[in-house]
């Protein structure tokens, strides 16, 4: 070990996988840890293990892959890749997302508007290096974009809220920055937005992003200029408007883009945020149910990566509306999860229908971390749900 880390410290910031392995192997089994991207407020009896000191990357531009230590900030990665005309499958990013470490982004299960074109961010994960809670070093996947050797443990780490292992590096598939990007903003309620998306699909228009919030639908179109102009003409036809009447903006980054504006709003929101998944068409039913239950008039809002059916529901206040939303989601058989700042002692993160596979999730958590060393809202919630189903 480098000697710079005092294993008794409340804040542990190893600079390498080897350091992290030695550190974890040297600890008593009853020692409790929580994994974070960078330093957090101290918690009683729990040390914080952060990835902020894990630095470095290997970029293979011609292979369109990146292996990065999880302490690298997303903004720095984004900037470096842009110089090579490449990007990760997460955009647009907010200022605070750019400041987050890759480890924090992976652990929290980030989704961005890019999910429409590239799938969830975890889908571009082609490998990961990690240290198990007992200090065992391991990796899964590799550095090539096609690989089916062994179990895919990289994706299960993504969104696990630090409950399985300390991820020290990740391999990512990269994508070329499109030659041109435009955003088309349309005032539309959700049923109209869904109808437009369906019609666009039927006309062969594949959107790069498909965001809905605040009564606006924003469609991102990317590719060669000729293709974008043709797609915009087709969309204008669908909307029965002239191209010149459409609200178009160039580029895929920055505050004018609805996706990043909504994400920034979520970050500054003081209430509880629930993330749920539905079919595309299920979004309309979800919104109707929220309105029907009187939640909309109490200030509950909805943002969506609409094309892929991922939604965020904002509950203002101190959680008083949680029970009512839970009942609404159950009645629709929709499963949700609280996101944002989560307290392991703050009750189950699950809302609505019980997620599938909870019993197996618990077995996986206990197999990876038999002593329960890693304190995570994922673990406490899975155990709570399996022992005391709501």
């Amino acid at each position: 070990m480098s000697g710079a880390i005092n294993a008794d410290s409340a804040l542990l910031a190893p600079a390498s996988s080897a350091d992290a392995s030695e550190l974890l192997a040297s600890m008593e089994p009853q020692r409790r840890l929580r994994i974070k991207g960078h330093s957090q407020d101290p918690a009683e009896g729990i040390s914080t293990l952060v990835c902020a000191n894990l630095r470095g990357y290997e970029h293979s531009p011609a292979d369109q892959t990146l292996v990065a230590a999880t302490g690298e900030r997303l903004g720095a990665i984004e900037q470096m890749l842009a110089e090579h005309g490449q990007r990760i499958a997460a955009f647009p990013l907010t200022t605070s997302q750019r400041d987050m470490t890759l480890g924090a982004i992976l652990g929290s299960g980030l989704d961005t508007a890019a999910a429409q074109r590239y799938g969830r961010f975890r889908e571009s994960l082609i490998g990961a290096e990690f240290v198990l809670p007992d200090g065992t070093r391991a990796h899964s996947g590799g550095r090539v974009i096609k690989n089916v050797a062994g179990y895919d443990l990289a994706k299960i780490m993504a969104g696990s809220l630090g409950a399985l292992a300390f991820v020290t590096a990740a391999s990512l598939r990269l994508y070329p920055v499109p030659r041109r990007s435009v955003r088309l903003s349309i005032e539309a309620d959700i049923p109209h937005a869904i109808a437009l998306i369906e019609q666009a699909h039927r006309r062969g228009i594949e959107m790069a992003t498909c965001e809905w919030g605040q009564g606006l639908l924003e469609l991102g179109i990317e590719g060669p200029s000729e293709a974008i102009e043709a797609a915009v003409r087709k969309l204008a036809d669908l909307l029965e408007r002239k191209v010149g009447e459409l609200e178009l903006s160039e580029g895929d980054q920055g505050s004018p883009v609805l996706g990043s504006r909504l994400a920034a709003e979520r970050e500054s929101f003081g209430g509880m945020i629930i993330k749920v998944g539905t079919r595309l068409s299920g979004a309309a039913e979800l919104q109707r149910a929220i309105v029907g239950a009187g939640l909309a008039e109490r200030g509950v809002w909805m943002h969506s990566h609409l094309g892929v059916g991922i939604h965020y529901l904002g509950l203002p206040g101190n959680g008083a509306l949680y029970g009512r939303l839970d009942a609404v989601l159950r009645s629709m058989s929709v499963a949700g999860q609280r996101v944002g700042h989560l307290d392991p002692a703050g009750g189950s993160i699950f809302v609505g229908r019980r997620p599938g596979g909870l019993t197996t999730m618990r077995r996986v958590l206990e197999s990876f971390d038999p002593h329960g060393r890693l304190v995570s809202p994922m673990r406490t919630s899975v155990i709570e749900e399996t022992e005391n189903p709501r």
Binding site: S140, I145, I156, V364, P370
Partner: protein
């Protein structure tokens, strides 16, 4: 009272299993019929099962797996049996639970672009049934006309068009599975986001070692408005490789880029007369799809890249019939190798795309050293190579040399930063090569996932993981398993 011996337990299984499968079929005691389930597409591994169950429903699969769990009898799930790594070879004294009779298409939703299918549905059938709605299922293994969706899930299958559209794991939203203890769970959801740990991603590609899939929610795509396909000939594989790099460097993500060397071209031509040039040292099949305008723009750039890199001839598919003919040749490549030699080994390795040309040279060197011929077909865009090692099975010496060469090729892939398998899976064939790619810690982490799903180790044992019996390793020092350390399991 527990039944002590394995033979007693198998006898008990045979006695009870028939009543658990009222709609499906059980094969018990019919040696020729049982033998036909003894291997998959990789016929050099074979093991006759004790029983074959052709299940018709999730409930029948659940009942049979529960009986396996109760009696401690190993089982393997089976789709169409087209796998190329021995993944569906039955375990010794084991049971085959085949889903080939579960062929129902439960739903195709044109608005949500989702298909819900049973595992025995053939890959191509999903696209055919979706076609009237303007949709298709993107992963397209060469065996797509017969391989099953359940098998695709088990192997995380790829195909020629996965460069642009991703692999099976990118197109499976959820799976209903029967776990090795007989419980039924749905992993994933109807949206890509489902709360909790992402068990769906771990299950896809687990080669039947975590359970049996009984229903699959698939993501469908809209059929592209336009497709254009060309074949570009080159006088060297290096030039063809340079063209691949030039296309990718231009920021183009074609729907497919496939490469064949001279021997592979010869085989395909003999088999299906696809119109490939027999005098080319290498050929690229490049396909671009999307909107008409996008295709028009990118297709010309692809042609320019090929010309710049020295193509000797470009053949453009004039219509759908010619496009189909071009693809028929490529997709027949494995079977076509039989035109060149009485036997061959299909290998499946991956290298960084930029290493394609160099590894071809190394493969040739290795082949020359043992006097064997190797035909090469590649998914060039993602660095997935399929060397076809040709040999005479009547010669023990040649057979052994071919197997050794095939293993050396995949281990060479690992040496230069790649993988031992890109789409065929580890199965039995490459279990011993896993150690070239993963160390003890890596394999232990994977085992922790496995025991969480299958504490008895009855789901397709002997696959994926290297074992001393299979690989001739010296048994290592005993290390207590995590479950033993936690007091949840006892070693005896």
């Amino acid at each position: 009272m527990p039944i002590a011996s394995l033979s007693d337990r198998i006898a008990e299984f045979k006695r009870r299993v028939v009543e658990l499968v009222p709609h499906g079929e059980c094969i018990v005691g019919d040696a020729p019929a049982l033998s036909s389930y003894g291997a998959d597409g990789l016929i050099r591994f074979r093991q006759t099962p004790e029983v074959v169950v052709l299940a018709k429903s999730t409930e029948e699969v659940r009942a049979v797996v529960s009986l396996c769990a109760e009696l401690g009898i190993p089982f393997v799930g089976r789709g169409s049996g087209t796998g190329l790594s021995g993944g569906a070879v039955p375990p010794a004294h084991g049971v085959v639970i085949a889903a080939s009779a579960m062929k129902g298409i439960v739903e195709i939703d044109p608005v949500d672009r989702i298909a819900v299918v049973e595992p025995g549905v053939a890959n191509l059938v999903v696209s055919e049934r979706s076609a009237p709605l303007g949709l298709y299922y993107a992963p397209d293994p060469s065996s797509q006309s017969v391989c099953s969706i359940g098998g695709n899930v088990a192997e995380n299958s790829g195909g020629a068009h996965c460069l642009k559209y991703g692999f099976t794991t990118n197109h499976v939203l959820a799976v209903e599975v029967v776990l090795p203890d007989g419980s039924v769970e749905v992993l994933g959801g109807e949206s890509p986001f489902e709360p909790g740990l992402d068990l769906r991603s771990s299950f896809v590609g687990s080669e039947g070692t975590l359970g049996i899939v009984t229903k699959v929610w698939l993501r469908l795509l809209s059929r592209p408005e336009a497709v254009r396909t060309l074949v570009a000939d080159f006088d060297s594989v290096e030039s063809a490789g340079a063209a691949v790099s030039a296309i990718i460097a231009a920021g183009i993500v074609p729907a497919a880029i496939e490469m064949m060397d001279a021997l592979a071209i010869e085989a395909c031509e003999k088999a299906v007369a696809a119109g490939y040039s027999l005098d080319a040292a290498a050929a690229l099949i490049v396909e671009v799809d999307g909107s008409q305008e996008e295709v028009d723009a990118l297709y010309e750039e692809v042609k320019t890249a090929c010309i710049t890199c020295g193509t000797t001839k470009i053949r453009e598919a004039a219509d759908q019939a010619e496009r189909s003919r071009i693809w028929l040749g490529r997709k027949a490549a494995f079977a076509a190798a039989g035109r060149l030699a009485p036997a061959y080994i299909v290998q499946d390795g991956v290298v960084p795309r930029t290493a394609l040309s160099s590894i071809l040279g190394r493969i040739q060197e290795l082949a020359n050293q043992v006097g064997l011929r190797v035909a090469n077909v590649f998914h060039a865009g993602d660095g997935n190579l399929h060397p076809l090692v040709l040999y005479n099975p009547d010669s023990t010496q040649e057979s052994e040399a071919a197997e050794k060469l095939a293993t050396e090729i995949v281990e060479l892939c690992v040496e230069i930063g790649g993988s031992i398998t890109g789409e065929h899976g580890v199965g039995l064939e490459k279990a011993c090569s896993m150690a070239a790619m993963f160390d003890d810690g890596d394999l232990e982490a994977m085992q922790r996932l496995r025991v969480a799903f299958d504490s008895q180790g009855i789901a397709n044992p002997g696959k994926v993981f290297p074992t001393p019996r299979l690989c001739g390793d010296a048994p290592g020092r005993y290390r207590a398993h995590a479950l033993e350390l936690s007091g949840e399991a006892v070693r005896f």
